[in-house]
Amino acid sequence: MKLLYCLIFLICFSLRSSGQSSKYSIKDFYAYKNELGINFTNVLGNVLSLNPENANSPYGLTYRKHIGMITFRSAFNINVTQREENDFSSGLFINRKLNIVTSDFRIGLEKHLILNKSVLFSYGIDLLGSVGNEKSEIQDFNLGGNTFISTEKTFGGGLGPVLRLEYKISDRIFISSESTLYAFTAKTTESLIINGLPQEDTKSSDSSLILVLPQSLFFNISF
């Protein structure tokens, strides 16, 4: 793992030390300072029927702000699910409630190399965060009214380098895709309450190091 990070550091350092010989300046490429992006891959897959595979990026929205040769980058996604059902099947009466809130976000910085007047290559580093809360409540009215409440809370964080290619359609419209190498760790606490009596919490952790290849296309608008 240390060897891998040394390697990534060397590559990033090498990119940083590469002089930029392009005749185009960043001000020519980015006429506006703010950029809002949306994951467009599913539109291509579903509406245009190009390829039915779904996008795998957890981020739906991105916001970037250009400050000279450096750009502040951020991305965000939130997923809220609320479901309640009453089950009367087989003469039983069970009430189930499910609440899920998950959110993934990242912030970072990137630098640019202008390849030509329409294509930009960027490299940078991201800090990641993830929170999740899942609460499941089951009330069984058949055997004396048992109640089960299960809660699962997840907190995660990570970091890693990013490489990005962006194509300029016009001064206001860009499309982009990126590759990331994120190291991520998450801790999960699960608790269970049966008939008001709390059971012992269960804690677990997950770690990962994944090189994500470009598989999502973002449609960006500058303003």
Binding site: L4, T41, N51, E53, F121, S179, S208, I210
Partner: protein, 182 residues
């Protein structure tokens, strides 16, 4: 009348720039290159691919070209503790040397010949694999700074099934979008 013809306006004449450096035999000499495996995205955009695509083990390639040869590093990784991803974890790291040869006179189409030392492993193997790779690549240079590439590989090493030798010929599966840095 001027003896030199000026480049057409709006069309970048990048290939003529190599003549500025007499010591550099090619326009890629003394440059750095970084390649990103774009197969997953390309497979989404190309309409006649409806199956599950394979991108190969390599995600990133970094090269440093000297006069004619390059030192290169190839990397791919997916390491998780998550039980939902059982059977998908792998790691690939290779160091090697590469040489590029022009096919066409304008050097837009080239092929590469490379030797790598690789280290690889995945969840299903009994041990890590170590060995040599002979690679032959094919490249199309869209501009002097952006080019597409793919590579076939012949692998020879340890880490095969049940600890035996590994002998594999891998046909080109991935399309890399490469960026040249100066």
């Amino acid at each position: 009348m001027s003896g030199q013809s000026e480049p057409k306006k709006g069309k970048e004449n990048v290939y003529a720039e190599e003549d500025e450096y007499e010591d550099d035999p090619y326009f890629w000499s003394y440059s750095k290159e970084i390649g990103i495996n774009f197969t997953p995205l390309i497979s989404k955009l190309v309409p006649f691919n409806l199956g599950q695509n394979q991108s190969g083990n390599i995600g990133l390639i970094w090269k440093k070209y000297y006069s004619k040869r390059a030192f290169r590093v190839s990397l791919g990784a997916s390491i998780t503790e998550n039980f939902e991803n059982v059977g998908t974890d792998f790691f690939y790291l290779a160091f090697g040397l590469e040489r590029r040869y022009p096919i066409t006179k304008d050097k837009k189409i080239t092929y590469t010949s490379a030797w790598d030392i690789f280290l690889q492993g995945n969840e299903n193997d009994e041990g890590p694999g170590l060995g040599l790779v002979k690679g032959y690549g094919f490249e199309y240079h869209i501009t002097k700074r952006i080019f597409l590439s793919t590579e076939a590989q012949f692998k020879l090493g340890t880490g095969g099934q049940e600890g035996g030798p590994l002998i594999e010929f891998l046909l080109p599966t991935a399309v890399f979008v490469n960026v040249r840095l100066y």
